[in-house]
């Protein structure tokens, strides 16, 4: 009786079968993954299309023509799509607020663009370069000269009337010279405040332009140059009225002339000429009634 044969070794065949099964499973998984990928890609595309349509409707509801912004809308949607992972199962969630976001982004861009235009038009400190602090100098010099001339006339009158002598007149003029710097400082202060007022008006124009640009809505027309024209108008008006404005702040006689006669008298020494209040009041014309009118002087 012979020993039974060894069982047939099928391990290779089994391994082959298992390998084939594993390969088939891998292929199936790969195919499934590819199918899933295609489905998700399709889902992303359809989500983007839906967002494009809803954005167009949203723009229409705001009174805007969507065709005018289709390029911007496409760009924004492409930007959103690029941020969605291919494996994301819910791409529609990324587009949920797309219409509002797109409008908001475009609106901000529109505002920023126009604000830049305004900033270019009204550069920093444009108002101080437009209305420089020396602009009031001619007016101040004119007023100072006028005021000094008035005071000098008083001295001349007193001299012509013989109230004071030449020495006394020189002393009185010296007193006016000493007052002059103070008068000029007053006038400069008045002029500076007038200029500051003009600069503020220009600033107001620029600020209005910035505010309007910053609160613009997409579709609203905005012309920075109109604000530039407004600023020009304000500037011209200011320049035209600067002299008057300064003069309106200067009332009466800035030079103190009430004591000129006394100053002249102190300078010239004792004199026999009778005091003539008309001369002190600046009356140049000499009439025949001087002798009688002196009796009625209130001084």
């Amino acid at each position: 009786m012979s020993a039974p044969d060894a069982p047939q070794d099928n391990s290779f065949a089994v391994a082959q079968l298992e390998g084939q099964r594993a390969d088939a499973a891998r292929l199936q998984d790969k195919a499934d993954a590819e199918t899933k990928k295609q489905e998700l890609a399709g889902l992303r595309t359809s989500s983007a299309d839906a967002a494009r349509n809803s954005s167009a409707q949203y723009f229409q509801s705001l009174g805007l023509d969507p065709s005018g912004y289709s390029g911007d809308i496409d760009r924004e949607i492409s930007s959103i799509m690029s941020g969605i992972a291919p494996s994301d199962e819910n791409p529609g969630s990324y587009f949920k607020s797309a219409p509002q976001d797109i409008y908001g982004n475009l609106n901000r861009s529109y505002q920023t663009k126009n604000q830049s235009s305004v900033d270019q038009l009204f550069s920093p400190n444009f108002e101080t370069s437009r209305i420089q602090m020396t602009m009031d100098d001619p007016y101040i010099n004119d007023i100072l000269s006028e005021q000094r001339m008035t005071a000098d006339n008083i001295i001349e009158n007193m001299l012509k009337r013989g109230v004071i002598t030449g020495t006394g007149a020189a002393g009185a003029r010296g007193d006016l010279d000493r007052q002059a710097p103070g008068i000029r400082t007053q006038l400069n202060t008045i002029g500076d405040t007038a200029l500051a007022g003009g600069q503020q008006k220009l600033r107001d124009v620029a600020n209005k332009a910035r505010t309007d640009a910053g609160t613009l809505k997409l579709g609203q027309q905005f012309d920075p140059n109109s604000y530039g024209g407004n600023a020009d108008q304000v500037f011209n008006d200011f320049v035209a009225s600067l002299g008057d404005q300064i003069r309106s702040n200067v009332s009466g006689n800035l030079f103190q002339t009430g004591g000129l006669a006394a100053t002249a008298g102190a300078t010239q020494g004792a004199g026999n000429t009778a005091y003539n209040p008309q001369a002190a009041a600046g009356v140049i014309e000499d009439d025949d009634e001087d002798a009688t009118s002196n009796k009625e002087s209130i001084f």
Binding site: Q186, Q200, N249, S251, G252
Partner: protein, 326 residues
């Protein structure tokens, strides 16, 4: 061995065996005791627990589960709690979500007004002190001029009525001198007032804009995020109870096992110990002390081994010296 020694050794042996048997018995008794204790511990570990409210928790060995029996009131409370929790999850959460949606909508609506208020606030700063001084100075100067001219007219009118028309020019000059002297005072006054005016305007500007900006900002901030999520905590509560019970039970079983194991080891050691032959050995030693019968070579000194053969009893049948010589 003499009979006395043998009897003595035997007695020792019996005594040893008796001791061994006693030791084994004690270990067995200890093991039995520990088993009883372990049973008690397990029983205690699985004992039902009743709290102050009458709720009962117990272990059901048949189904191997822990069970809870609530008192009627506690059962009602639990049921009511579950109902509220269910409503919280189904009704409150939904309402909360709707509220958050409206909040989000308000936040979006607040963006435009917020931007407008912010732009106006930023781009409309308070007028400069110089421009305010100009305003005040001009107004003061005009007021002074009006006042002085009014006074001048009154004085001239009065002079004319008094028949002193020749003094009109003096009156005019005196009035103009007075106006001129007031310019410096007006400038000084305008400066002080302009400082205060600017502070007031700045305060008013901030009062007008900042509160509404803050309010709008809060509205916008509140619009983000999602509704507060509500989840049931029954699972975690139940898990805690079960973990606690399981821990207590395992601890009881573990303690009982340790005690039984120790007792068992002791018992096994006692049972498997070899009989104590020390008594027998001692008896044998005692017996060895009895002098044995003299041998034929007793007198042979071991140190003289080389002569050993010479001292052998020759001539006997058993031994022939020549046979052993080489």
């Amino acid at each position: 061995m003499d009979p006395v020694s043998g009897a003595l050794g035997g007695a020792q042996l019996l005594l040893s065996i008796q001791n061994m048997m006693n030791s084994s018995s004690a270990a067995a008794q200890n093991l039995q005791f520990q088993r009883e204790q372990a049973r008690k511990q397990e029983r205690l570990g699985q004992a039902a627990r009743t709290d102050a409210y009458g709720n009962k928790q117990y272990y059901d060995s048949a189904t191997n589960t822990w069970k809870t029996e609530l008192s009627p009131m506690q059962a009602a409370i639990s049921k009511a709690g579950e109902t509220e929790q269910f409503r919280s999850l189904t009704e409150d959460a939904q309402r909360n979500r709707q509220q958050r949606t409206r909040q989000s909508q308000r936040a979006e609506d607040a963006v435009v007004p917020y931007n407008k208020a912010m732009q106006e606030f930023l781009n409309n700063p308070t007028a400069s002190e110089g421009s305010i001084r100009n305003e005040i100075g001009t107004l003061t100067a005009l007021a002074n001029q009006n006042r002085d001219k009014g006074n001048q007219a009154n004085v001239i009118r009065q002079a004319l009525r008094m028949g002193k028309g020749g003094s009109v020019q003096n009156i005019i000059k005196a009035s103009d001198d007075r106006s001129g002297r007031g310019v410096a005072d007006a400038l000084l006054s305008a400066r002080g007032q302009a400082l205060q005016e600017r502070g007031s305007r700045e305060q008013q500007r901030q009062s007008a804009y900042l509160p509404i900006i803050q309010q709008l900002s809060n509205t916008i901030d509140a619009g983000g995020g999602s509704a507060a999520t509500r989840f049931s905590d029954i699972s975690s509560q139940l898990g805690n109870v079960q973990n606690q019970q399981a821990s207590q039970m395992l601890s009881a079983i573990q303690g009982a096992n340790t005690n039984v194991n120790n007792a068992s080891r002791t018992a096994i050691a006692a049972n498997s110990k070899q009989p104590d032959f020390s008594g027998l050995f001692k008896a044998l030693q005692l017996q060895a002390k009895v002098k044995p019968e003299k041998q034929w070579d007793d007198k042979i000194p071991y140190s003289t081994t080389p002569d050993y053969m010479d001292n052998m009893p020759y001539g006997t049948d058993r031994y022939n010296k020549d046979d052993y010589l080489f």
